[in-house]
Subunit: 627 residues, 2 copies
C-alpha cells in the first residue's frame, strides 16, 4: 500500500466501509451556490435533506426493525462526513435525525418508536428538539416551561410562563418543523418531577402554527443560514398523556408518577446522558470542517508564490516560509491527533450505549466527560484553525468562492451549542475531581467542595484504552530526547496530576469560606485542569493509532506528525513547564528549535497529509485549491 | 467632571471637537438591515456615501483651496469614527477619499489636483486604487502591469501582460468606479523606471467598461459585501501623457524621464510612503469595531444571568464569573492601550506629513514602521477580541441582530489588506535592525544580512514621545511590586533589547551561509522582535496618556486598566520571561494572581469603561445590548 493510501486507511479506521459508502452516497448532494439568500438556502437544504433520506443516509443509527442499521457509532461517523459539505445540511440532519429522532428513540418507549421512527427517518415528520430557553441555555436543569398533568382530561398542559422561558435557537422551528420534543418541568398533583420531554405539535398541515403556539424566526445568523432556527412559546397547549416520552418518567391516567430512576436530579442527568451523541457528533463535524480548510490552505500554500530568493530566480511558494509552515503545520498535526481521539470516543460510545445490554454507570460517566472535553477542545481548535487558514490565504481567503468564509461562519457556533465550551470544561474538571462519582454536572459548587474536602483521596490518572502501550512507553524512557514518546507521555501525565493536585488543595479551602467565591477564584485553574486532561487523552489516542498502523512508512511519517503535535503543545504551554521546573530554559528553547525543524521536515509531506483526509473532490470547489 | 466624562475626554483627545462633530454628523447615516443581499447592500452603501459627502464628511483631509479642511490627522480620525457603523461604508469611503483621492493628492501635481480633487470630494468622480495584482499582493514592487510611453502619440499604453497581472480585490471596481489610479511599471524608450501610478478611465458614462478594459466582480466575500471589489485587466489601453501622476516621476513629451528622487528603489518607497495614512486608518477603524463589540458584550455580561450561587438566591450575572471577566476585561484594557497608541500615531502622522514643510526622512521612516507595527497588532487584537465577544455572548452572539457576526465578518480582512500582518511585522523588524537607514521594505534579506553583519553597532531603544516621563518612571523603580509602572516599562524595554540582540547574533551568521535559509529559519524570531517592540511602544503611549489625564479619579482608574493590560501581556508571554530569567516561577504565578485580582477590581467599572468609547447610541441596535 502506498503511504497516502495507508494513511487514509488508518484515518478511516473502524468505520472505513461506512466512510467510503458515505463518500459515494454524498456524491448526489449538491452544494448551495454562494450568496444564496436565507429563504432559498433553507429551501435548498430541505431539498438536499430529502436527497439524503432517499439515499438511505439517516438510517444508520436507528433500530433495525424500523429500517435502520442499528449502528450507533456509525451514525456519528456518517454525520461527521457531512461536515465536508454544506454545514447547514449537516446541522439540519443532526437536528432532525440526531436530536429530534434521537430523543424520541432514547427517551420514548415502544409506543413512540412505533408511531414516529419510520416517519422521522423517511422525513414524513419533521421535528424540533426544543430544550434551550432564552433565559436558560447552559443551566438546562432550571428551564421554566411547564407541562402540568390534568387528570380529568387525561392531558398535559404545556405552557411558557414568562418571556425568558420561550424556547430559543431551535433548529427546524422557524420553517419546517411539524412537531417539537419540548423539554419542560413536569408537574402532577403529586408534585414536581423535574425536566421531561413531550412531543408537541407546532404546525398545522398548512404550515400555520397550531393553536396556542407562537413561532418566531431567529432571522439571519453568522452562518448556518440554511437551518431555520426559531423561537417557540406555548400558551396552555394541551397534548394527550401519551405525548410524554416516558422511558424515564411515566404518568398514569390518574396522575400517578413513576420512574425507574430515583430522584429528580439523577433522573435529569440520566436523560441528558442518553443525548451524549449530539456532543460527540459536533466534535466530529467540526473536525471535518477543519480538515477541509487545511486541505484548501495547504494546496494554496503549495502553489502561491511570493518574493524571490536573494539573487533572484523563481518566486518562492509561500509554504516554504517558516512562518507559513508555523501557521498551518502544527494545526494539521493537532487535527490528526484530534481525529484519532474522536475515533476512539466514537468507539467508546458505540460500546457503552450501542448494545442491548445494561449500561455501566461509571463508564457512561467517563464517556460523558470525555465527550464534553473533546467537544470543547475540538471545536476551539476548529475555530482557530479555520481562522488561521483564512488569513494564510490572504485576500483570496476572504472570497466566498474559496470556501473558507463559509467554513468559518458556519462552524463558529460549535463552541457554543451542544454545551458552551467553557461550561463543558468545568464539567470535565468536576468529573475528574469526583472520580465520576455522579453524572457530569450533578454536583453543584458547594456539593463538590464538600466532596473534595471530605472524601477526596488523591488524583488518579485514568488510563485510556491504550493502557498497556502507554505504560510500556512511559516505562522505557531513557535519556532526554525531546522526541522520546515515553518522555512526552510522562510529561503530560505529570502535568495533569500536578494541576489536579493543586486544584484540590485550593478547593479544600472552600469548606470554610464562601464556596462561590472560592470556586470562582479558582475558575481558571479548573479550566486548565480540564484542558491538560484532554490533551493527555488526545495524545494517548494518537500514540495508540500509530501503534495499530500496519504500514511502516506511514507509521514513520505519523511519528513525526505526532512529535510536531506534542512539541507545539509543549511550546504553547511552556510557561507552565518552566514555572514548575519541568523544563529548563535551555530545554524550552530547544523545543522551539525542534518545532521549527519538524515544520521543515514535514513541509514536503503536507500535501500527502491533507489528501489522506479524503475530502470528496466535488466538495472542494475553491479556485485556489484546484490542482 | 465625572469619571466617565473625564475618560471620554481623554479618549477623544487632540481631535475631540472633530470626534464630537462627526458623531453628530453620522446621525444622518442609516445602517443597512441584516441579511441584505449583495446588490442591495452596495446600493445602500453608495447612497450613504452620498449622504456623507453632503454632510461634508470627506473634506477634512483635503487641501483648503479645494474646499477641504487641510487636516491630515483629522481625516484619519473621521474615518475611524465610521468604524462604529457599517464597515462597508467605512471601507468604501476609505477607497474613494483615502486611497483614490489620497493617491491623486499625494502622487499627482497641480494639474491633477485642479482637475480631480473637487469632483472626488463631492463624489462626482468615483475611483479605484488599482495596486494589488492577483500574482502580487505583498510584493508590490514586482507587479507586472506595464505603462509604456509612446512618444509619437504622446500617450501611455497601459497593459496587462498575463493573467496574474490583473488588478485584484480592487474596491469600487465591480460596480461604481469611473476611473482607476493604476500602478504599473513605467517604461520609456530610455528604459524601465519602476512602479508609477496613472489615472485610467475604466467605465463609460453609461456604466459599461471602456474599450480595452475588462472588469470582473470578485463576488461574495466573508464580509464588507457593501463594497464592490473587482478585477481589472487592460488590453493596450491608451491614456494621454497627462494621466501619469507625476510628482515623483515625470515623462516629457519626447519621452525623457525625470524624477526628484534618484533610483527606482528609493522612488518606489518614497511613493509608497505617502500612502502610509491607509495603514493608520485601518488600525483606527479596526479598533472602533473592537470597541463596539466590547460595548455589546460587556452590556450583555452585566444583564445576562446564569446559575445560582450555592444556597440559591438570584442567578449570577455572567460577568461576575472569573472566566467571563478574563475573556473580556484584559481585551478591554488592551483596547485602551491601543487606542492611545493609535492617537499618538495619528498625531505623529499629522506632524510629519501634514504640514507644508519638508519631510524629515528618518522621522518618516520611523512613522512608516510604527504604522506597520500598530496596524498588525491592532487588527489581530480586533479579530481576537470580536471572536471572544461573540463567544462570550453564546447563542445570542451568533444572531445577526446582535451585530457581532457582522463585526467579525467585516473586520476579518483587516489583518490582510493594506499589508499582510505577517509581512508588516517583518518590515518593522527590518526598520529596527537597520535603524531606519532606508525606507521600510527597502532592504531585501541579503542586503539586510550584509548590513547587519558589517555596519550594525548595537541595539538602541528608540524612545517615543513620552521620553522624559518614561525615563523618570524607569529610574524610580524600587522594590519588586508588580504594579510598579517603572518596573513594567523596564521589563518591556529589556525584553526588546534582548530579543533584538539575539536576532542580530543569528543574522550575522547569514554573511557566510545561504542568506535565504538563515533568514527563513529566524523568521519566528523576526516576528517576535517586531511584536515586543510594538508592545513597548503601546505601553509607553498608555503611560503618557494617563500622565496627561487631568482628572484624578479617572487617572486612578486608568492606572488599574493599564496594570491589567501590562500584566496580562506579561502573563501571555510568561514563557519568555521565565525562560530568560526575567521572572522567577513564584513571581510568574503572582502575575496570574494579580490579573485575576485586577479583573475582580475592574469588574464594577466595566460598563463605565466601555461607555467612555461613546459609540453612537443609534448604532448599537443589538437587543442584548439595550439598557
Amino acid at each position: 500500500m502506498s503511504t497516502p493510501a495507508a494513511l487514509r486507511a488508518l484515518l478511516d479506521g473502524r468505520w472505513s466501509d461506512l466512510r467510503e459508502r458515505t463518500r459515494r452516497q454524498l456524491g448526489v448532494v449538491e452544494l448551495p451556490p454562494h450568496g444564496l439568500d436565507r429563504e432559498r438556502h433553507r429551501e435548498h437544504v430541505l431539498r438536499q435533506l430529502r436527497v439524503l433520506a432517499s439515499a438511505g443516509h439517516p438510517s444508520t443509527g436507528f433500530p433495525v426493525r424500523f429500517g435502520g442499521g442499528g449502528d450507533l457509532g456509525g451514525s456519528v461517523v456518517s454525520f461527521e462526513m457531512l461536515g465536508f459539505g454544506d454545514l447547514s445540511l449537516m446541522v439540519k440532519s443532526g437536528v432532525q435525525w440526531g436530536l429530534f429522532g434521537g430523543a424520541v428513540q432514547a427517551l420514548g418507549t415502544e409506543r413512540h418508536h412505533e408511531r414516529y421512527l419510520r416517519e422521522i427517518i423517511e422525513l414524513d415528520l419533521l421535528g424540533c428538539f426544543a430544550m434551550t430557553e432564552s433565559g436558560h441555555g447552559s443551566d438546562v436543569q432550571h428551564l421554566r416551561t411547564t407541562a402540568t398533568y390534568d387528570a380529568a382530561a387525561g392531558e398535559f398542559v404545556v405552557h411558557t410562563p414568562e418571556p425568558s422561558a420561550r424556547k430559543d435557537y431551535i433548529g427546524n422551528a422557524a420553517r419546517d418543523g411539524q412537531v417539537a420534543v419540548v423539554f419542560a418541568q413536569l408537574v402532577t398533583d403529586g408534585g414536581e418531577h423535574g425536566v421531561h420531554a413531550l412531543v408537541v405539535p407546532i404546525r398545522e398541515p398548512d404550515g400555520s402554527p397550531c393553536a396556542g403556539v407562537s413561532i418566531e424566526d431567529c432571522g439571519e445568523k453568522a452562518g448556518l443560514n440554511g437551518v431555520d432556527n426559531g423561537r417557540l412559546s406555548f400558551d396552555n397547549v394541551r397534548v394527550p398523556r401519551e405525548a410524554l416520552l416516558d422511558r424515564y418518567g411515566h404518568v398514569a391516567e390518574d396522575g400517578t408518577y413513576s420512574s425507574p430512576v430515583d430522584g429528580a436530579n439523577k433522573r435529569f442527568f440520566t436523560m441528558l446522558g442518553t443525548l451524549v451523541r449530539g456532543r460527540i457528533s459536533v466534535a466530529g463535524g467540526a473536525l471535518s470542517a477543519a480538515k477541509k480548510a487545511l486541505t484548501i490552505a495547504v494546496r494554496h500554500g503549495e502553489t502561491r508564490r511570493q518574493f524571490t530568493r536573494p539573487g533572484g530566480g523563481e518566486e518562492v511558494p509561500i509554504l516554504d516560509y517558516l512562518v507559513h509552515q508555523r501557521r498551518l503545520l502544527p494545526a494539521l498535526a493537532t487535527t490528526y491527533a484530534l481525529h484519532f481521539a474522536q475515533e476512539e470516543l466514537v468507539s467508546t460510545l458505540h460500546e457503552v450505549l450501542g448494545g442491548e445490554s445494561d449500561v455501566d454507570d461509571r463508564r457512561q460517566r467517563e464517556l460523558e466527560s470525555r465527550a464534553a472535553g473533546l467537544k470543547a477542545v475540538a471545536t476551539w481548535h476548529t475555530t482557530r484553525t479555520i481562522q488561521e487558514c483564512r488569513e494564510a490565504c490572504g485576500g483570496a481567503g476572504y472570497l466566498a468562492e474559496n470556501q473558507l468564509p463559509q467554513l468559518k461562519a458556519d462552524t463558529d457556533v460549535f463552541t457554543t451549542f451542544e454545551g458552551d465550551n467553557t461550561v463543558l470544561l468545568q464539567l470535565v474538571a468536576k468529573g475528574l475531581l469526583t472520580g465520576y462519582r455522579d453524572h457530569v454536572g450533578d454536583l453543584d459548587a458547594l456539593g463538590m467542595a464538600r466532596f473534595v474536602a471530605t472524601q477526596f483521596v488523591g488524583v488518579v490518572i485514568e488510563r485510556t484504552a491504550a493502557r498497556p502501550l502507554i505504560e510500556r512507553l512511559v516505562g522505557a524512557v531513557s535519556g532526554d530526547d525531546l522526541h522520546d514518546r515515553g518522555w512526552q507521555l510522562k510529561l503530560f501525565e505529570d502535568r495533569e496530576e500536578h494541576v489536579l493536585d493543586g486544584l484540590v488543595r485550593r478547593l479544600r479551602a472552600a469548606g470554610d469560606g464562601d464556596a462561590f467565591e472560592v470556586f470562582n477564584d479558582a475558575q481558571d485553574h479548573v479550566l486548565r485542569a480540564a484542558r491538560v486532561h484532554v490533551e493527555r487523552i488526545v495524545l494517548e489516542a494518537f500514540v495508540a493509532a500509530i501503534d495499530r498502523c500496519p504500514d511502516t512508512e506511514a507509521a514513520e511519517l505519523l511519528e513525526r506528525v505526532c512529535d510536531l503535535h506534542v512539541l507545539s503543545a509543549i511550546e504553547a504551554d511552556a510557561a507552565w513547564f518552566l514555572g514548575h521546573g519541568r523544563l529548563t530554559p535551555a530545554r524550552a528553547k530547544s523545543v522551539t528549535g525542534a518545532v521549527n525543524r519538524l515544520c521543515k521536515l514535514l513541509r514536503p509531506h503536507a500535501a500527502t497529509l491533507v489528501e489522506a483526509f479524503a475530502v470528496p473532490t466535488e466538495w472542494i470547489t475553491a479556485p485556489i485549491a484546484q490542482r
